[in-house]
Symmetry: C2
Subunit: 514 residues, 2 copies
Amino acid sequence: MPAPRGVLTARRSPRLPFLDVPYFDAASAAPLHPVARQALLAALDEGWADPARLHREGRRARLLLDAARETAAEAVGCRPDELVFTPSGTAAVHSGMAGALAGRRRVGRRLVVSSVEHSCVLHAAEAHEEAGGEFHLAPVDRTGLLDLPAFRSLLSPGTALACVQSANHETGTVQPVAEAAAACREEGVPLLVDAAQSLGWEAPPGGWSLLTASAHKWGGPPGIGLLAVRKGTRFSPARPVDERESGRFPGFPNLPAAVAAAASLRAVRQEAADEAARLRALVDRLRARVPALVPDTEVVGHPGRRLPHLVTFSCLYVDGEALLTELDRAGFSVSSGSSCTSDTLVPSHVLKAMGVLSEGNVRVSLPRGTSEEDVERFLGVLPGIVAGVRSALSAPVAGGPREQAPPQAPEAPEGSPDQEETQEQEGPPEGGGRAPGGAAAVVDSRGKRCPIPVIELARRIGDVPPGRVVAVLSDDEAARLDVPEWCRMLGHEYVGETPAEGGGTAYLVRRAHG
Amino acid sequence: MPAPRGVLTARRSPRLPFLDVPYFDAASAAPLHPVARQALLAALDEGWADPARLHREGRRARLLLDAARETAAEAVGCRPDELVFTPSGTAAVHSGMAGALAGRRRVGRRLVVSSVEHSCVLHAAEAHEEAGGEFHLAPVDRTGLLDLPAFRSLLSPGTALACVQSANHETGTVQPVAEAAAACREEGVPLLVDAAQSLGWEAPPGGWSLLTASAHKWGGPPGIGLLAVRKGTRFSPARPVDERESGRFPGFPNLPAAVAAAASLRAVRQEAADEAARLRALVDRLRARVPALVPDTEVVGHPGRRLPHLVTFSCLYVDGEALLTELDRAGFSVSSGSSCTSDTLVPSHVLKAMGVLSEGNVRVSLPRGTSEEDVERFLGVLPGIVAGVRSALSAPVAGGPREQAPPQAPEAPEGSPDQEETQEQEGPPEGGGRAPGGAAAVVDSRGKRCPIPVIELARRIGDVPPGRVVAVLSDDEAARLDVPEWCRMLGHEYVGETPAEGGGTAYLVRRAHG
């Protein structure tokens, strides 16, 4: 591994990542902002000492830490003594939720979180449940927007805490935080707002009781998060703690990172309005042109209430991992919520909660400074790359007429590996078994991963007469999301699902009348 | 606050802290090593992306993280997959202890820790107790060395975990880790070794099951700690976790800090033998000359088994905070375990566990590169500074004969504020009450802080005949440690303590025969 070893002992002058090929994954981690880099260096030189010490170096460190806290608090819209630094956004969420839940233990142990929160919120909710608490997921609509009436109805008197993100990290949908806060206030429930994706653009509306954020999302350094707890919020920090950060987060503080986080937050906010307008125009272009250029593609997320720099779309008959690999080869770094790009091989919980297509999913999140040329280049290469991935999968010819007639039976190449592996059954299976749901054809895609089940369904749908049912057998979790979505996009009727004999699930699809 | 505000927006080139006045508090936080700085910068440029992502930037980050893990594991003496990065040494200790205790929950809930562990270990032990577990403190001797037979006897079959530091952070005493590990192995108890103070010098002896460390102690950056868990150690990470760091520590990793930590650990180890020998000679000089130059001063810690760069001493009749302030004014940054320098106003638990003097306590911990001249300068100013602090407190003339005769009754200045505030009682108190322990004189120092009770005792001891008892009434926690120590140092007999009528404690001292 010569490259990383080299960095560990490197003597050469550093290169700014901004000069690299286009990086479209700012929502995972933004390249370090120049102001963050500069502040980090200065604070490493001036603020390496222990701010709890009485000596000169300690006092200097303390002044730096206080100033960073003041700057960050101003950007958050809170008092400096309401804000502590944590080692990450995840740590802020975990300790914020634990502290708020413990502080209101006597009120109740009910936790309400939106179903599209960041996984760290869901992990903390699961831990709360394992420890004897209960948690409830508030649903969202197909655009990812919190269902406010449903949210409100979950806020029973025994609710200790509710969590609603300011904006979604996968779709960019901006949540109705002010309305959620009003609902919480009425019920006397504290609201934690995870502002990780939006704090670099603007402070979330007031009304929250706890707020969390993560510096590397706005171009600050890694290793630093923010947790703000409004005065008057019951808060009992998870043990063990020490005297650091008002007793809310233990351990030697990462002071240089805190200074860099605060300095860069101030810097990005100063340019936020202009840059947001510029990136929003580029994202508008992507939202309009991707579906026009790439057939059978769906842009997901709210069309209006959204982050300026982020757009997500999904492509039928496309393997997300292959798509990412090809885009990466073409010089574009994006991420995906497709199951094949996840360690756990399940689609993103966000896409699941929205009930939208997960196969061939791509999230484009533009870092500050992204050029129009880069976006145009992306639009230039994307259609060919998607077509290439589809062709490699022997996917049906895309772009067939929608909501009128199903596509023609696909012309799969003779003897293609996919076809050979498919164990298809037509009509009632042999051996006297009944086809699931009285299907006229059964496509057994068990053991195959997204997007193969949908591709095989698309290939076979033409083999049954209009009005008859095809059963797709699959043990891939993505099928539950993608088969109904395929029906919706292509105009067929999704009948429902039933357990398949021998394992997996049968998804029943009635062919549309042409 | 112009300075810190300036750093947040600074454009000037940074200045290395090494060029500052002498900094003798490396055990709190060492100045950033040049290699750490360099590696941090390189990794900020190359490794800011999410190492969990599949794209080019993510893969590059992953390579850097893997290389950092390999380098750190080599220095620790473990396999890379046994080591995870945490946001601090405290976080490593907290998650290591919680994981080990939870992993052996079925075995038992007994925890054994040495009484001189870092406070983060004790905080975790207290949290364990609050959660229904039990913990036991293994005693140390007057040099701070773990009492091995006592430690062994605490390792009953229901013991889930034992914790022994590699070396003490306040006294430098190096613990018998190999022997402790052998004792643990015999009992089948996993041993966690907190190697925070020593890892920059050498890997601790094998035999541990868990090891923790903190990068900023060896000149690495803040914001990064190490937790190694040997294969085969039962470990159940505290929830919530995610897929990061083998599921052992959640949140976006502080990759640049991990890279800088690993690079600097390798660098300091390469020069460790030479630098240790050099600093050890300087510390030897301090150990020999401080007591010779400063009367009534005691060097604490083990004379032989100790860290190369650290020495701690305590001065009778000295206010630790005043001493630190004066040393700081003279350009020397040190720390102290005296009660007056602590937020909680109790003496360091380490000094308490050792049973040594806590007043006028100074810890000198030399960073790498400390010059002989700086140490000589320190030795030059120290006697005058201590004398000045003593004089301001109207302390007795120090350096009187020891273990033969008590000092003469001090010649306190007429009408000094201290004397005026002292409410002394001689003989049986008025109102028919009995003097505590049949004391011939009572010195009521209640409401006064260390070192005043000891100073008042020293002033009054000459007023009673040899063989008679003086009772010092005090509600200051430091008196419990310092009155007996004063007796030991001056040759008087410490009789014991008894609750004082009206609050506080009466400490009984029998004047020595001259």
